[in-house]
Symmetry: C2
Subunit: 316 residues, 2 copies
């Protein structure tokens, strides 16, 4: 009987005003997420195991950690992509984790680099409006895909809901649905790779469909994007990505970066104010370009428990 191996993969996220970043490890050909084999003898819990080798492999420790999802589909794991670790005949189960950090140290002693997550999902960034590539490339390809295959109506529906086609709204949390749709439709590079097609011959089809990752790592990353986007709305996890003190504009920029969506400034402030999540420090950011802004800090003692435990996200 085939043995089972459990892999732990971590999506370590940091962010600044311009983008959320994810820690990527370099491999031959493509990047991946920091990942390691779960050690059934050594690791008492997944989370401890994860913290151990994230520290070893990337040089630092995420503050907040949460489990994302466990992937076990055959065909998706593609262990060949990382021959050093694979027991080639084992069935690989991978447990994905999300970790958040506020520091983004460039410690080049480790072979890990920070990459904007929009490099992997260019269609997810709507801060300057809906990316033209969606209607120019993705939508036509998905329409074609749903025409041809079986269950045509269902495919069309999924495509419309996921990408907000035909006047449906764009819902930022659905990042995973979108990636899976692209994968199924053969528009993600990994889909070709996993069926063993010769990628060089079809390279053109993936232009603009985002940078691929090894194994099923981009799928795990998509899960993380969707989860984090949802979570910041009802839990104050966004502050895990912020420095100790920050201006309200900086906070808004980071929220916008995570959501991939611009927000209404005054209403964002009003809601934040009412939530009681932050308090002013009395000091000001001597600024470049406008009126100085007060520095705020997260009130770690928020017991309030009222409605908004997350930040409000009033669309611009």
């Amino acid at each position: 009987m085939t043995s089972i191996a459990v892999g732990l993969s971590a999506v370590i996220v940091a962010a600044d005003a311009s983008a959320p970043y994810v820690l990527a490890t370099r491999h031959s050909g493509a990047v991946g997420l920091p990942h390691g084999r779960f050690d059934p003898d050594g690791d008492r819990t997944f989370e401890l195991g994860l913290r151990n080798w994230v520290r070893a492999q990337t040089g630092f420790e995420p503050g907040y950690v949460e489990q994302l999802y466990t992937f076990g589909d055959r065909g998706r794991e593609h262990p060949q992509a990382d021959p050093d670790e694979a027991a080639p005949d084992a069935r690989l189960i991978s447990v994905g984790y999300l970790g958040l950090t506020s520091e983004r140290t460039e410690d080049s002693a480790f072979d890990a680099v920070w990459r904007s997550w929009y490099q992997f999902f260019p269609w997810e960034d709507h801060r300057d409006g809906r990316p033209p590539m969606i209607d120019a490339h993705i939508a036509p390809a998905l329409y074609k895909w749903s025409e041809h295959g079986p269950a045509s109506a269902a495919r069309l529906d999924r495509a419309r809901m996921a990408f907000g086609l035909d006047d449906r709204p764009w819902i930022e949390e659905r990042a995973l649905e979108r990636y899976e749709l692209l994968y199924e439709a053969g528009l993600a590079f990994e889909a070709m790779r996993d069926i063993g097609a010769d990628s060089s011959s079809t390279d053109g089809a993936f232009a603009g469909s985002g940078e691929p990752m090894i194994s099923d790592h981009r799928r795990i990353l998509a899960t993380a994007v969707g989860r984090l986007r949802g979570k910041i709305k009802y839990r104050p996890v966004i502050f895990e990505l912020m420095p100790e003190t920050f201006t309200l504009s900086q906070l808004q920029k980071v929220v916008e970066a995570v959501l991939g969506q611009a927000l209404h400034k005054q209403n964002f402030r009003r809601a934040l104010d009412k939530s009681g999540l932050v308090e002013g420090t009395g000091t000001f950011e001597t600024y470049t370009g406008g009126r100085p802004a007060e520095l705020y800090r997260f009130r770690r003692d928020v017991q309030r428990e009222r409605a908004a435990l997350g930040v409000a996200t009033p669309k611009a």
Copy 2:
């Protein structure tokens, strides 16, 4: 090196006006969830594997299925509880799934029984007000626990937030936090069992702390309770638990049963109306006890995507 086994456990939920029910299998001593070993050779995906043996083991097929969480803590798995299946020296990882169904067939050819989930979590049912047992038994025990242990303040905080002590609100989604707290505080039967204590000698401490389950199944069930309670608020999954047509009161009763919380009738209707999730059929339930109620059905074609994709839950 220790080998790894992956177990799949399913929380299969049905509901009627009086309670949500969970499908339980009988074992020597305690009940458990339907569960089986994941077959790395046969099962292409977890979900397919799960559907296979749920059908084999309980005689029917859940409609809606979603993954809950993957538990891998050593010490929690307690494989001895089910000696028929265990490879005694393997490390057991268990992947929990939630399945919803509207039929609750009592097929006694299979050794599965439907139990109200409040039998396992009596403190979770607030439909007739906060259960007295919380303040009478749980709260004092938790206060005592937080006094003694290390990190006293943190413990006290967790207890207050989880159980809504000292005027904090009761938040129904936190079912898992509550169960884990009771486990850590030694108030769940399983906690004693897992450290190998002689349970018969301490039986009294668990009076009213709910019926235990084998292995970590009650923990998985608590995860399911919390997840479902959250989910019905933003996805129309509640209708997976309803028959084809139903009155609004029946729907409300089921929502209340799931939440463990009474709702304001008129406002529930108003919100449901606005959501567009249901439509009247024109036929009426000839009733026992009052004016006949119109039968409604779920509009499976809701593309609306506006705000409320779930049912609103205006507290009574």
